[in-house]
Symmetry: C2
Subunit: 314 residues, 2 copies
């Protein structure tokens, strides 16, 4: 296996990447009922809508999905509902991370069993300052206990939430041991230098920046697309940036996309996105979040809609 | 309800506290088999040993217990094993926190149903920078969904792990809303000024410093005792500090206790404690930890035993 970077030549860099996911993957918001139960029918309907809008995949049960506020049983149930509804399982990249090894094994096994195209696997996130050996051992146990050659793991780097970074040496060790099972990575660290280094050093991994802010730069270095919270509400435009046929067109669309993203910067993004989905679907239930998150106050929601309106093209 | 502090008069300050837990509570280490399964018989035997040594209570499923590396099913099973073995449930203060609300509700309900004297309840620990309103809402949902007047919640302040502090204003709001259900707090923040302030402002709460380093100072301000990792291996001495009949005796014992504690400062404490328990019980299986923790290397373990030997009285 070659981990030495191929210098980016500015060509169709995505062609360097292995088959798998590409484009805009959506960390799908999870709707709740008024009594805070997961709302499976609304979830399935929203997933269908996102695929119809052109999502490259559905990264259900991510951070934006409030996945770690869901029980193991709830995540398995929602996944089963999606597959039973006829959504193509290979377009699903469920988050299967958990603080406890047995939970991560159970969720990952369920995802592989359902035919998911991959899993987005957080490191264990309770203990802090753990050794790289310990994090490696944790991923190794998950992979070996699942014990299925179909497994494709996308590592999830989001140290500001998990407290546990996915280091470059950890990726290299996991790739050396598990080969193509370690398929890719989502980099939500918010540091472009880090994303750039990953793209250069791991040219054979499928790498997604965790924000559309780094989409254009990422594409130039061979990123597979992006997995972004705002793809829940702005999928077509993000996709248009990827699909742009000229550099000038991409730059123009990118500016619009970044302006829309900026509208969310002053508000908590998950409640804000749910507010916007509630507005668009006409279903106020979408505003509900599970504690410890709190719904966006009405005044902040109105101001957000005004900012979005101002940023939208007329 | 009176939250105004009674000035500490240097008398038997513990008498100011409500009935409940007191003395040395042990965040009991969780033994695993060679295949990383929870070892219930060894766990029950160790709990019996700790009670025989004079533990004021067993704070099973704490941070030291690797509780967040255990599944919900495992925690419920181990709790049931303890109670079925005849251990008095009112001496148990299981950790029932979880990132997901339904898990915390299920674990807390199971603890109350088993007759536990209280629960040690972490805040939800995945999302960071959450609002106090959100954390309040989370605790409120747990308490109301459990819906049992027997529930006694001990709040768990350990921001270096959970990422979510238990603020003084949060405690006050929860006490105002739920009265005696909010029974106390474990302060593992490692900041004596914070512990002192809690003891002064919440004289009617049962407060445990999370380390024996603050035991002596804590007792002077009415702490109920302490909940300390090293109580797994050094319970009698910590208890002797509490039971000392004179100030001079307490100071002498405290110096010994602090010297023994210091032997652990250069090593990861959970693997180190397990190494020591393995040595004392003659069961090397005790050295096993679940990833992301890693076992203490043999050389470090030998050096630790040497330091402990040097610190022990002859």
């Amino acid at each position: 296996m070659n981990r030495i970077a191929t210098p980016s030549a500015g060509g169709p860099a995505a062609a360097r990447r292995r088959a798998g996911f590409s484009g805009v993957l959506v960390p799908v918001l999870t709707p709740f009922t008024a009594t805070l139960e997961a709302n499976a029918p609304a979830f399935v309907a929203f997933c269908r809508h996102l695929l119809a809008e052109g999502a490259g995949g559905l990264a259900v049960f991510g951070t934006t999905s409030e996945a770690n506020s869901l029980s193991l049983v709830e995540r398995r149930h929602l996944l089963a509902e999606l597959v039973q509804s006829g959504i193509a399982a290979d377009r699903l990249m469920p988050g299967t991370g958990a603080a406890a090894l047995p939970d991560a094994v159970a969720l990952t096994s369920a995802a592989v069993g359902a035919g998911a195209g991959g899993v987005l696997l957080l490191p264990p996130f309770y203990y802090k300052n753990v050794s790289e050996d310990g994090v490696f051992a944790w991923y190794a146990e998950v992979i070996e206990r699942v014990g299925d050659a179909r497994l494709r793991v996308y590592l999830y780097h989001i140290p500001q939430m998990s407290g546990v970074p996915i280091t470059l040496s950890l990726i290299a060790r996991l790739r050396d041991r598990y080969g193509e099972i370690i398929a890719g990575l989502k980099d939500s660290g918010g540091d472009w230098q880090h994303t750039e280094r990953l793209l250069k050093e791991f040219a054979d991994l499928t790498i997604f920046p965790g924000s559309e802010r780094f989409l254009r730069a990422g594409l130039a270095y061979g990123a597979a697309g992006c997995i972004s919270a705002t793809a829940n509400v702005n999928l077509r435009l993000i996709r248009a940036v990827i699909d742009a046929r000229t550099q000038a067109e991409r730059e123009r669309l990118d500016q619009r996309m970044v302006a829309l993203r900026a509208a969310y910067e002053s508000v908590p993004v998950i409640p804000a996105l749910k507010y916007v989905v509630a507005e668009r679907t006409g279903d106020r239930g979408w505003r509900t979040v599970r504690p410890p998150l709190t719904p966006l106050p009405e005044a902040e929601g109105r101001a957000l809609l005004a900012r979005l309106g101002a940023a939208e093209p007329r």
